[in-house]
Every structure is written in C-alpha cells, then in structure tokens.
C-alpha cells in the first residue's frame, strides 16, 4: 500500500473477495523525506496515509524496509543505464525486482499466497497458465509496466482494479468506503527524484563530460555537458549554437557515450520502423516469426501494429507497420495479442528500413 488511492481500493477489493489481507507499505528510501503531497511514494505522509487506509479497512499493516534492494536494483541501475546512454524505465525495474520479486519472495516465505497491487491490469487464468491482459480502462492501463513478469511471478499476483471501468469510479469507491486518500493526486514522477528534476538529479550522479552535438551529417551544431543523460527523441534542453537550415525543431537521434556525442536531426529523421530488443521474457509461449502483434514502446504510449521478424535466445526483432518516433535504447518493448501481453524485451537499437514512408 503506497498511501495512494489505487492500492487502498485494491486492498479493499481483495478483502471483499474473501482473502485474508495484510497491508504492506514499502520503505524504499533510507531516510524518508517529508516532502510535498504531490509526491508519489516514500514520504512520511504516504506511510501515514497507507496506515490510515489499513485502519479503515480493519486489516493489519506493516512497513517493510526494502530500501537496500531498491537502491541497488532500481536507483543504481537507473543511473548506470543513463550513464551507458540508454533510457531506462524505473517503474518496470521496480515491478521486476522489488514488488513482484523481493517483496513477493518475502511474502510467500512468510506464508502469504499472493501479492495484490493497485495496478490497472487484468490477470486471466488461461488453460496454459496465467495471462496478463490490458485493464478495462484503456486510459489507465498499466499492463506495459508489468509486461516483464514471468508466468511464475504472475501466478502469485492479483490486480483487483483490472476490471475498474474508470479511475473516477475507483476514487468514488474509495470515498464511499471512507478512505481518506480518495482525492489524493496520482503519482507521476520518478519516486526517488525528490523534486521531479530528473536531469539535475542525474547530473549530480554522472560526472560532467562536455562534448559535441552533431547533426545527421556529422557537423558540430552545439555542445553538451555529457552525452549520458540524453534520451533519443528528446527536444528540450539542447544547446544548439547553429540553427537548423530549415528552422524546424531538432531532436536527439542518437546518443554515443563512447564517442561522447549527441546526434540531432528532424522529427522525420527520428522515425524508426525496425526495433531490435534483448532480454525477452514471455508470458506464455514465445511468438513465432511472422506473428502479427501490437507493440508498445512506452508507458501510456500508443500500440503500433508490428510483425515479429526474429525470436531467439532472448533476442527479438520486430518490424513496425508505421514508423515510430523516439525509440530509445533501454526502453521496454511490450508485445500484445489483442488485450493479452505476449511478453517484453529491452530495446537495443532502432533503425529505419523503409525510407521516405
């Protein structure tokens, strides 16, 4: 229970379903901050809100300290990925390493049967095991950040909000149940970046290393303080001394930490329709080459039709029917068959095959 409305209602629904429910709040920072109310987690207020929700539901409540594991598996990884020129998703990592791994392992060892969370996604038990599906509320669907879960992890996960038609219904339900968190703001930022300024936060952790910003033709058009920390598709925060010939906005096309260069270009240059990914996990059988599926490349991003080109030993290559802009190495590529999550892999490279679409 994060202290937010979703996990509180999820706990209530699990209780209604007849489960013996115990509330657990994760302490993920060594020293809990008491920052503003808008923050998503890890503050003293959030722990208190979670405790109050548990009180109202009449369930036991504990705080588990997983801060050491979180620091190495999520925070350090986040910094290391950016330092390597990639764009990680820490929420994916947290689900994979903390909520449905460290927390789940401990809970199962202590005698619990499942971990219920406030994620908007549906678990459907099919003939070949548990399946992960998009939530009923497409606008709130969070199956993307859960697409890394292997079947054995999914088997002990419960998502009581998966059938909620709309987030507003969940808020109304929280209010009707007397849960004071009903009107609490949604968390949006990265929970361990205190003021939401990810760039400054990374700057304090990755040594500055000034270098050149190049255009697609290799011409120097500006400088940067370090290639690491830039994201493919990024437009803001570029210090470009030389204006583009056509005067149109320019975006980061490529980040090379080895050469310490950032390459920029137009929105069209950013388009990619072939995505190579690695470290695939499948929620069920791996797809066959030729399979026509949907690809999602960021949380709340659009689902794009694609064809699987290659699947072997954890590597995955897909061809997108339409080019996508800003596909950054490090992002998660989640594959869907209808509403079902087929699996996911981490983007290694993206390229343009069909020029001038």
């Amino acid at each position: 229970m994060s202290g937010g409305v979703d996990s509180a209602v999820a706990a209530a629904r699990a209780l209604d379903a007849g489960h013996d429910v115990v509330g657990v709040h994760l302490a993920l920072a060594k020293t809990a901050s008491s920052g503003g109310r808008a923050r998503g987690c890890c503050t003293v207020e959030d722990a208190r809100d979670a405790r109050r929700a548990a009180d109202v539901l009449g369930i036991p409540f504990y705080v588990w300290d997983l801060s050491e594991r979180f620091a190495t598996a999520v925070v350090d990884d986040f910094v290391a990925e950016y330092a390597a020129g990639r764009t990680p998703n820490p929420c994916v990592r947290c689900n994979q390493e903390i909520k449905f791994a460290a927390l789940a392992d401990r809970a199962l060892a202590l005698g619990f049967d499942a971990v219920a969370t406030g994620h908007y996604a549906r678990r459907v038990d099919g003939p070949d095991g548990p399946q992960l599906h998009r939530a009923a509320d497409a606008a709130k669907d969070q199956s993307y950040v859960l697409a890394v879960l292997e079947p054995r992890r999914l088997a002990t996960a419960l998502f009581p909000l998966g059938d909620a038609a709309r987030k507003d219904d969940v808020r109304a339900e929280a209010a009707a149940r007397g849960l004071g968190v009903a009107d609490k703001a949604d968390s949006t930022d990265i929970c361990f970046v205190p003021d939401g300024d990810t760039r400054a936060w990374l700057g304090a952790r990755i040594p500055a290393r000034p270098g050149a910003v190049l255009d697609a033709g290799g011409r120097v058009v500006g400088t940067h303080d370090g290639a690491a920390g830039h994201t493919v598709g990024q437009r803001r925060g570029l210090r470009l001394g030389v204006p583009a010939a056509d005067g149109r906005p320019r975006y980061v096309l490529d980040v090379s930490v080895i050469d310490n260069t950032v390459t920029v270009g137009s929105a069209e240059d950013l388009a990619a329709d072939r995505v190579e990914a690695e470290r695939a996990t499948w929620c069920g059988p791996a797809p066959e080459p030729g399979a026509r599926l949907g690809a999602q490349l960021r949380a709340h991003g659009a689902e794009l039709p694609c064809v699987v080109e290659r699947v072997d030993a954890g590597a995955l290559v897909v061809a997108l029917a339409e080019p996508a802009r800003g596909v950054a190495p490090g992002q998660l590529l989640a594959l869907y068959d209808g509403t079902r999550v087929v699996g996911s892999a981490t983007v290694r490279a993206a390229s343009r095959v069909v020029v001038g679409a």
Partner: protein
C-alpha cells in the same frame, strides 16, 4: 456513509498474549476510576476560586503521593507530559543552567545506550548550542564502563555540564550502576540525571538515597495513563525551563496542570511501588520460564543484557535469533496473537538499527534479529506458553523469509 470509527481492535481481550509492557502497560482499574472521577470535575488548578482550589488540592495531594512513593520531597516533583518531556527538561534545563553559571561547562556525558529522549536533546545541544556530547561506553551486557566515565570526567572536570545515565535500559533491561555514577560525579560537583522510566515499579527506586540531581519517570510504564509523567529535581538544582508561559510548576514547566493526570500518576505510583517487591519476584520467575522456553524451541537464540538478576529489569527478555529479520518475527508472532517488539526505535514503521546493540558490540546482522519480550502486571503463565508454542515455527518461517531476502 464512512464509518467514523473502525471496529474496535482486540486489545487485551485474552485472545492475544501482550508481551510489550516496556512499550506501555495496561492502566490499573483503580487508576481508571480515579481519573474518570477527576475528569468529571471542573477546575484549573491555577484558578483562585473554589473549583480551582479543589483542583489544586488534588494536584498537590498527588504530588505528595508521587514524592512519597519515590523518596522525594513534594517540592521536588515537577509534573510533565511524560518521560520524553522530563528527559528534555533535565538535559536541556541542566545544561543551560550550568553553562550560564560557567561558560566552560560544555560537555554532556551520556551513556551510549540512553533512550532517544536523552540522546536526541543532547545531540541537539551539540548541533545548535555549542555543546559537546561524550558517549560513555558499555560492556557486552550493556552496563556502563565506570572506569571510562571516571576518565572522561577527570580529563577536564570543569568542562562537564552534566552526566545522564539511565536507571535501566529499555531494550535489553540492564540496570546501570547509578550509585557509582553519582559518587564519581559528586567528586567534581557534577549533577547526574537518570532516566528511570523503565525502572519505577520494576526495581526499587529511591530518589533521595540515589543522590541524582534529576530523575525522569512516566506513568504509563507502571499502570498509569500515557501523558502523565514527572521529573524529580533535587532541591537547589538550577534548571532553565523548556516550556515558557503561565509559570506553573514553580516556573520550570508552564502549562495548565492536569488534575486528572496528576491523580492518576499519584495513584499508579503508590500502587506500583507498594507492589514492586512481589511484582518483581513474580516477573523474574515468569521471565525465567520464558527464557527456558525460547531457548528450548530455538537453541541458537542468544539472550542479551545482564546475566545478574540483581542488575536487570525483572520482566524483560531480549534475544537475537540468527538468520532472522526482527520485523518478520514480529509479524509472524503478531499473526499468532503474540505481541512483542524488536526493542529499538522505528521511523515510519521501519525498525532502525539499534544503537544500544551496536554499543554492546553486536554487529548489524546479529542486531537485525532482535526480539524483546517484556512482561508486566497482567502477564501470566499462559502468555509464556503462547510464546513457547509459537516461537519455534515462527523462527523457522522467518529464516526462510530471511533467505528469500538474500536471494
């Protein structure tokens, strides 16, 4: 409609075994009765009319009762809101008064195993007021190294503002050599404060005979309510107030005095002190059975604190269980109706590494597996049996969970 109040939690219903009397004790029925009676009456003890005078009389009679129970004069009893307030008043008040009289007095000597109620005001004085905190070491049982204290004072006696050493430790139960502390400090004219929050009602406590300058106590550790405590301050000890205002309690602690709280504290102190010898003997016997039961079920558990029954709280058993997280043990025991503690302070529900166990030389891994059982007036053989039945399977399960965390 939202419920204004949830279903009442099962509190001391007989279903659960409450073994956390070091956290708080059940209020004595007699105390509940006198407190309820007093709450139904009007009167601010500071008012000059009849109702005020009646309330004042209750406060003064209660003050006499507290004084009589603890070997103090009524004028030496400063009523406070509890132990932490008493500790703050003692540490800050003594420091400010002593430093004002002689600016060389900057050193605050505290045992390394003090409660945060003493440690944190001392650290605050160091951070904000130019004090220097000296942490006096303890041995493996948690008992003060008296020779180290003697050396620390002798190094520069004129610079010592005060010494604060608790009567008995809240985590491991070890009693401190207060008599020796006082005698060494007295050689240099240094005042001693003692936090006797855990000791009153459990060990014989005589303020006058002890020779300390100030002594903290709180009602809820011996059958009184939370929110009523006192600092005993030896006559003639200069003390600068922490709370300023209406000048109550001789100007040392402003704020309207609660007649109900005072009466509850007085009755609880009288009852607890009168019962202390028999109470301590009964708890010592129960604690021994608990110790045997825990070691029988968990042979590799390690018992901490003083091995000498004369030098520890009679009802406290502190153990560490190798390979376990204290909060896993706590959850599993709670789920089986056994309520106890890890013993150390927690922040937002997360047990913090115990400074007491560190000071005793335990490594952090060992300290993680700490459990504190504390028996009290309502404890019975059935409580011990509940622990005996639960602890074996609980430890086995917590060890599996501990391994899961390492995986």
């Amino acid at each position: 409609m939202p419920q204004a109040h949830g279903p009442p939690a099962p509190r001391l219903s007989g279903v659960s075994a409450y073994l956390d009397h070091a956290a708080t004790t059940p209020v004595q029925p007699e105390v509940v009765a006198v407190m309820a009676e007093e709450l139904s009456r009007i009167g601010n003890p500071s008012s000059l009319h009849t109702a005020g005078r009646a309330a004042r009389r209750v406060v003064e009679e209660s003050r006499e009762q507290v004084a009589a129970a603890l070997g103090a004069r009524p004028g030496e009893v400063v009523l406070t809101g509890g132990g932490t307030e008493a500790d703050n008043l003692a540490v800050k008040g003594l420091y400010w008064a002593r430093a004002a009289a002689d600016p060389r007095r900057r050193r605050v000597l505290v045992s390394a195993v003090e409660h945060h109620g003493v440690l944190d005001p001392a650290e605050w004085l160091a951070a904000e007021q130019g004090a220097e905190v000296v942490h006096l070491p303890v041995d493996r049982t948690g008992r003060l190294d008296v020779a180290a204290m003697r050396e620390a004072i002798a190094a520069d006696p004129a610079s010592v503002a005060l010494v604060s050493v608790m009567w008995a430790n809240n985590e491991v139960g070890t009693a401190q050599p207060i008599e020796q502390v006082v005698s060494i400090a007295a050689e240099h004219g240094v005042p001693v404060h003692t936090d006797a929050v855990q000791a009153v009602g459990a060990l014989p406590v005589d303020f006058d005979a002890s020779g300390v300058a100030a002594l903290s106590l709180t009602g809820h550790k011996f059958g009184g309510p939370i929110g009523a405590g006192a600092l005993l301050v030896r006559r003639g000890t200069p003390l600068v107030p922490v709370l300023h205002g209406g000048g109550q309690e001789g100007g040392v602690r402003s704020g309207s005095v609660s007649a109900a709280g005072a009466r509850a504290l007085g009755v609880a102190a009288e009852l607890a002190v009168a019962a202390q010898p028999a109470h301590a003997a009964r708890l010592a016997e129960l604690r021994e059975r608990l110790r045997a039961a825990v070691l029988d079920a968990v042979p590799d558990a390690v018992v901490h604190g003083s091995p000498d029954p004369a030098q520890r709280l009679p009802g406290l058993l502190h153990v560490t269980v190798p390979g376990c997280e204290g909060d896993s043990l706590l959850y599993l025991l709670d789920a089986r109706g056994v309520e106890c503690s890890t013993g150390s302070a927690c922040t937002a529900g997360v047990p913090q590494p115990s400074h007491v166990l560190r000071a005793m030389g335990l490594d952090d891994d060992t300290a993680r597996g700490a459990l504190r059982f504390s028996l009290g007036r309502t404890s019975t053989a059935a409580d011990v049996e509940a622990v005996a039945a639960a602890i074996g399977p609980v430890v086995e399960r917590a060890r599996t969970a501990g391994l899961a965390l390492l995986a």
